[in-house]
């Protein structure tokens, strides 16, 4: 019975922790009499969230699809480049410094350039989400490939396997857990990317909604937008984690031995 209770408590913990945080927030707002324009009470944010649910959803939807498209592109591009970098020392030494340099650029700085190139709208958001979530995928896939045991490689080479065969039979399966681990990081980064783009120069999406709300000193709506982003982030993260478990069951060995 106590085992069951522990299990139930484990599942309830994230909700409890969130609830406690919100209650402290609510009480602090009341106790210190904080003006709504600075920090609205969670109850107020929730009211606004419900009242403006339709509008929020519409803007969320914009952010969600731009993020997901950018993210999917990042998976495709990151996987390809990661494989190339991991498989060839020449590609590695050639491109790695460039990648690091590019990754060091604050992505906010890219948005104005993107607006010059492709105009205002969803496209800059997609591209920003792509460039920001691309890097961890490349690095992880390349690491997965580079850490193949030399003996494994020797076994295949002495069987007469070609480079392509070694890549498809060992390299890619070996890189999969690394890829899926990176997706969890990449999806949250993708949200950051698209929202940055919407905030700096967009006419759409939750970032734009927050920016216009804050211009009207409408703090509760701005916070409602933040909550919406956080919720989307957690949901997408959960989906990535689920896909990870499904695709690379062997890497979570302990859990299915029973």
């Amino acid at each position: 019975m106590s085992d069951l209770r522990r299990e139930a408590l484990k599942i309830a913990m994230p909700w409890l922790a969130t609830a406690v945080l919100l209650i402290i927030w609510e009480l602090a707002c009341i106790a210190f009499d904080i003006p709504e324009i600075i920090l609205p009470k969670p109850s107020k944010i929730f009211t606004v969230f419900v009242a403006r649910f339709d509008i929020l959803m519409a803007y969320c939807w914009d952010t969600l699809w731009t993020t997901v498209i950018g993210f999917l592109l990042a998976i495709a591009g990151g996987l390809l480049l990661g494989l190339a970098i991991g498989a060839s020392p020449f590609v590695y030494s050639g491109l790695y410094p460039l990648l690091i340099a590019f990754n060091a650029i604050p992505k906010v700085a890219l948005v104005p350039i993107l607006m010059i190139w492709v105009g205002v709208g969803s496209l800059p958001a997609v591209i920003t989400a792509f460039v920001i979530s691309f890097f961890p995928i490349v690095v992880n896939v390349a690491t997965g490939l580079a850490t193949i045991e030399p003996e494994m490689r020797d076994v295949l080479r002495s069987l007469g396997a070609t480079r392509t065969e070694i890549l498809t039979k060992v390299g890619i399966p070996r890189a999969m857990p690394y890829l899926f681990a990176s997706l969890k990081v990449a999806i949250t980064l993708a949200f950051i990317g698209s929202v940055i783009s919407e905030t700096v120069g967009g006419n759409n999406g939750i970032g734009f909604l927050m920016l216009s709300a804050s211009a009207r000193n409408d703090a509760p709506t701005t916070f409602a937008g933040l909550f919406a982003i956080a919720i989307m982030g957690v949901l997408m993260y959960a989906i990535c984690a689920l896909v990870e478990k499904r695709m690379t069951r062997w890497a979570f060995r302990g859990e299915i031995v029973g």
Binding site: E149, V155, S158, P173, T248, W250, V257
Partner: protein, 260 residues
């Protein structure tokens, strides 16, 4: 008939400006269907010999010939087993063992359409090593000894002419190790491949090999070649017979000189 032939083979590793002579002037040959063992102090270049024979490393000087052909790159279709079982954790035991069939001709071409036939063949091999019930398990669900058996099966499934074993039983406990000597011998008696076993274990070498080569400490040279004239099949009881013990002592003495 000579199958593997080494003439004056040396290997020098280069690391920055430093060069290390790992193997010096190795000359010996292995007959077709012969099982040889290479023993010697650690770091003497035993594993280097394996890599040279299979062409995974090019010799710095001298000549390696396998089946009459000069070795210039990795030769194809060799079976290899290392101390680390290197099974793929994402494949079941069965799929791990079938790996060579996906790579080695002519099986590669026939593999997809004749999968059932190949699985039956793999199953037979698994039965001989006592793993039939574990074909659908994943490597991490097997014990170390079972993993090493699967590793041997993978090295042998495509019936290679040449089997390279680099301390394959080194990480196992003594009982499992001795049991696997028997398994290995039975497989060899059945298939009669040419075998090269690199090991630290002198009893293992004498148990399994037709000829044992003793190497000196680095740079490795072959300092003794000893024919093992014990009739097969050998058993664990054989290992306690005076002649077996004498042979082990002879090898032990020669290696001790290297440490002196």
């Amino acid at each position: 008939m000579t199958f593997v032939d080494l003439k004056g083979v040396s290997l020098t590793y280069r690391l920055g400006k430093e060069t290390t002579l790992a193997l010096a002037d190795a000359t010996f040959s292995i007959n077709k269907g012969e099982f040889i063992a290479v023993v010697g102090p650690s770091g003497c270049g035993k594993s280097t010999i394996m890599k040279l024979v299979t062409g995974l490393l090019p010799a710095s000087s001298g000549e390696v010939r396998v089946a009459g052909e000069k070795v210039t790159g990795p030769i194809k279709g060799v079976g290899m087993a290392f101390q680390n079982p290197t099974l793929m954790p994402w494949r079941t035991t069965m799929d791990n063992i079938l790996l060579p069939m996906e790579v080695v001709e002519p099986h590669k071409r026939r593999f997809r359409s004749n999968r059932a036939e190949y699985e039956a063949q793999a199953m037979k091999l698994l039965q001989t090593v006592g793993l039939a019930d574990f074909a659908r398990r994943y490597p991490w669900q097997l014990s170390g000894g079972m993993q090493q058996r699967s590793n041997l099966c993978r090295a042998l499934i495509h019936e290679p002419e040449l089997l390279m074993l680099d301390e394959p039983f080194g990480a196992l406990d003594a009982f499992t190790r001795e049991e696997l000597w028997g398994v290995m011998q039975a497989l060899w008696l059945e298939k009669r491949f040419t075998g090269v076993l690199v090991t630290h274990d002198l009893r293992e070498a004498v148990y399994l090999a037709d000829t044992v080569y003793v190497m000196s400490k680095r740079p490795g040279r072959i300092v003794l070649s000893r024919k093992i004239d014990i009739p097969r099949p050998r058993s664990l009881a054989t290992t306690f017979e005076p002649h077996f013990v004498d042979l082990v002592h002879e090898l032990r003495d020669r290696i001790s000189q290297e440490h002196a």
